[in-house]
C-alpha cells in the first residue's frame, strides 16, 4: 500500500516535470524542426530533413556581418563592465566611506526603463558624434548591465572571508596588489557569472541598436532577424534557422556555465 502511493507520487512528480518541460520546449523544438524541414511541410515529423535553410543562410554575407557586429558589441561590453564593475564592487563591499549607503542605488537602477532613456540618449550620442557607431551601442549596453553586475560582484566579495585579505595587508601587501593577487582570484565564479550574464544580455539586445545604429552595415543579429521577419513573410524554414543560429552562442555559454551562472546570479549555492 505504502509502496503503491510512493510510486504514484513519483509518477505525479515526473508528470509535473515533463508537463512544464513540454510547455517550455514546444516553441523551441518546433522552431528546430521547422529549420530542418522542407517548406510548407506541416507534419509533426517532416517527410525528410534538409540543410537547405542553413546553407542558404550561411551563403548570405550579411549573416556573417551581423554576427560579427553582435560579437564585437558583446565582447567590448564585457571589457567595459567587468573591470569597472569589479573595482566598484570592491569599494562597495570592503571600504567604509561617506555615501556608502547609496550603493543601494546599484540595485535600483536596473528598474529604470531603458526604452524611456533611449530618446534623449540618441540626442546625446549625436552631440558626442557617436550616433550610428558601435561604440554608442557598447556604451549603452555597458551602462545597462553595469549596475546589476556591480551588485552581483559586491555580494560575491562579501561572501569571501575578509580575514585572508586582512592577513595579506598586515604582511605588507598593498591594497591594490592584494586586490589583484588575492581578492579577484578568489571570486572567479562571480566573474564567470558576470561575463556570461553580460554576454547573453548584450547578444540578445535589440532596442539599443535599433535606436542608435540605423546603418545596415552596423546591424546586430536581433536587428537582422527583425528585418528578415518583415521581408521574408512566412518563409518559416529560413526564419527559424536564423533564430536557431542566434540562440546558439547564449545556449552554449549557458550549458557550459549553468551552475556557476545561476549560483552567481542569486548568490546562493545550488546542490
Amino acid at each position: 500500500m505504502k509502496h503503491a502511493t510512493r510510486t504514484l507520487q513519483r509518477g505525479l512528480v515526473w508528470l509535473a516535470f515533463l508537463g512544464i518541460a513540454a510547455f517550455v520546449l514546444l516553441p523551441l523544438l518546433w522552431g528546430l524542426r521547422t529549420s530542418f524541414a522542407p517548406d510548407l511541410d506541416n507534419k509533426v515529423i517532416p517527410s525528410f530533413l534538409t540543410l537547405k535553410n542553413y546553407s542558404e543562410l550561411l551563403s548570405r554575407p550579411e549573416i556573417l556581418l551581423y554576427s560579427r557586429n553582435s560579437l564585437v558589441i558583446s565582447l567590448c561590453t564585457i571589457i567595459v563592465v567587468l573591470p569597472v564593475g569589479l573595482i566598484g564592487a570592491y569599494a562597495l563591499a570592503r571600504f567604509q566611506f561617506v555615501g556608502k549607503n547609496l550603493g543601494f542605488v546599484f540595485m535600483i537602477i536596473p528598474l529604470l526603463p531603458a526604452i524611456a532613456v533611449l530618446v534623449p540618449l540618441v540626442a546625446y550620442m549625436n552631440r558626442l558624434h557617436l550616433y550610428n557607431s558601435l561604440v554608442a551601442v557598447i556604451l549603452v549596453n555597458s551602462v545597462f548591465n553595469l549596475p546589476f553586475a556591480t551588485w552581483m560582484l559586491r555580494n560575491f566579495i562579501l561572501a569571501n572571508p575578509i580575514s585572508i585579505e586582512e592577513a595579506a595587508l598586515i604582511d605588507g601587501c598593498s591594497r591594490v596588489r592584494m586586490l589583484f593577487t588575492i581578492a579577484i582570484p578568489m571570486m572567479t565564479p562571480g566573474i564567470v557569472a558576470v561575463v556570461v550574464y553580460t554576454f547573453i544580455n548584450s547578444w540578445n539586445a535589440l532596442i539599443y541598436s535599433f535606436a542608435l545604429t540605423p546603418s545596415p552595415t552596423l546591424r546586430v543579429m536581433p536587428q537582422g532577424i527583425l528585418a528578415f521577419m518583415g521581408s521574408w513573410g512566412t518563409q518559416w524554414g529560413g526564419i527559424t534557422a536564423v533564430g536557431m543560429l542566434a540562440l546558439l552562442p547564449p545556449l552554449l555559454l549557458f550549458l557550459i556555465f549553468q551552475r556557476t551562472f545561476v549560483a552567481g546570479l542569486f548568490g546562493y549555492q545550488l546542490k
Partner: protein, 306 residues
C-alpha cells in the same frame, strides 16, 4: 548577508599613500558612477525637459509646459495603450506566479532529475526576445504552425490569432509569461532552499497536509522573493516594446499597442520625440512607484533577499 568590516590598516609607500587613503573608494567607484551619471541620469533629466517642449513644423522648438501631457491624456488611443499595458502586465503576473511556484518546488525538491530540468526550465530566460517572438509566430502560423492548425481545425475556419484584437493580446501575453516564469522560479527556488527542513518536519508532525504546508509555510516564507521577482518582471513587461512590435506592430488597430510599443513607434519610426519623451516620463514615474515598493519590501526585514 555578512556585515561589512572595513580594513583600516594599510601599509605605507604604495599607491594609496600617493592618492590618499580616503579618496580610494571614490576612485574605485568613479568609473561606474561616471558612466551611470552621464548615460543614465543625464538622459532622464533631459527626457523630462523634452517632454515640456514641442517641435513646430518649421523645426522651431517651443516650451509648451504640460500641453503634451494634456493632449495625450485626452486621447482615446492613450487610454487604449494604458489598458493594453495593464492587461499585458496583469496577465503575465497572474500566469507566472503559480507556474513559477510549481516549477520552483520541483527543482528545489530532492528529485534526482531536478538539475537537468532546471536547465530546461531556464531556456526561455536566455532566449533573445526577438528569437522567442519568431518561434511563437511560427507556432500560430495558420499554414504550418501546430497551434494555428489546431485552432483552425477546432473552429472549422482559418483563424489568424495575431489578427484578432483579443486573441492577439492574449497570445502576446502568453509569450511574455513563457519568458518570465523561469526568472520568478529561480528567485522562489532561492527562497525555498533557505527554509530549514525542520520547519516542514515539525509541521508534518502536527499533521499539516501538503496544501496547508504550502499556504502556511512556503508562501509566507518566500513572499519577499516573490515580491522582488514579480517587481522585476513588472518592470520588464511594462517596458517591453520589441516583442509586441515584432508580433503585431501594435495591431490590429491599437489592440496590442502598449505604452512601450507606442513609445517605440513614436520615437524610432515616426520620430515624434516630444510625445515619446512624455510616454517615457510616464513609464519612469510608474517605475519610481515600483521602486518605492521594492525599497520598502527589501527594507522591512527582507534584507537577506538579494
Amino acid at each position: 548577508m555578512p556585515s561589512t568590516r572595513g580594513i583600516e590598516k594599510a601599509p605605507a609607500g604604495t599607491f594609496e599613500t600617493i592618492v590618499g587613503k580616503r579618496s580610494l573608494p571614490y576612485i574605485f567607484l568613479g568609473p561606474a558612477l561616471a558612466l551611470i551619471l552621464f548615460l543614465l541620469v543625464a538622459p532622464v533629466v533631459q527626457g523630462v525637459f523634452m517632454s515640456f517642449l514641442a517641435t513646430r513644423g518649421n523645426g522651431a522648438v517651443d516650451w509648451v509646459g504640460l500641453d503634451n501631457y494634456r493632449i495625450l491624456f485626452r486621447e482615446s488611443r492613450f487610454a487604449s495603450n494604458l489598458r493594453s499595458s495593464l492587461f499585458y502586465l496583469a496577465g503575465n503576473l497572474v500566469l507566472s506566479a503559480p507556474l513559477a511556484y510549481a516549477a520552483a518546488a520541483l527543482i528545489t525538491g530532492k528529485h534526482r532529475q531536478a538539475e537537468y530540468f532546471r536547465g530546461i526550465f531556464l531556456l526561455p530566460w536566455i532566449t533573445a526576445p526577438i528569437v522567442s517572438t519568431l518561434l511563437f509566430r511560427a507556432l500560430v502560423d495558420p499554414q504550418i504552425g501546430p497551434l494555428g492548425i489546431l485552432i483552425s481545425r477546432l473552429s472549422g475556419r482559418q483563424v489568424l490569432i495575431l489578427g484578432h484584437p483579443v486573441w492577439a493580446l492574449v497570445f502576446v501575453t502568453v509569450h511574455s509569461f513563457w519568458r518570465s516564469f523561469p526568472f520568478v522560479m529561480l528567485f522562489l527556488s532561492a527562497g525555498m532552499s533557505m527554509i530549514p527542513r525542520e520547519v516542514y518536519e515539525s509541521a508534518m508532525v502536527d499533521g499539516a497536509g501538503r496544501w496547508k504546508r504550502f499556504t502556511r509555510l512556503t508562501l509566507p516564507l518566500t513572499s519577499n522573493q516573490l515580491a522582488i521577482a514579480l517587481l522585476q518582471i513588472t518592470v520588464w513587461t511594462l517596458y517591453d516594446a520589441e516583442t509586441i512590435y515584432a508580433f503585431t506592430n501594435g495591431g490590429p488597430g491599437y489592440a496590442t499597442e502598449t505604452l512601450a510599443v507606442r513609445l517605440f513607434k513614436s520615437a524610432f519610426i515616426n520620430f515624434d520625440l516630444n510625445t515619446s519623451a512624455v510616454i517615457g516620463i510616464i513609464l519612469i514615474s510608474l517605475s519610481i512607484v515600483f521602486m518605492a515598493v521594492y525599497m520598502r519590501l527589501v527594507g522591512s526585514g527582507g534584507g537577506d533577499a538579494q
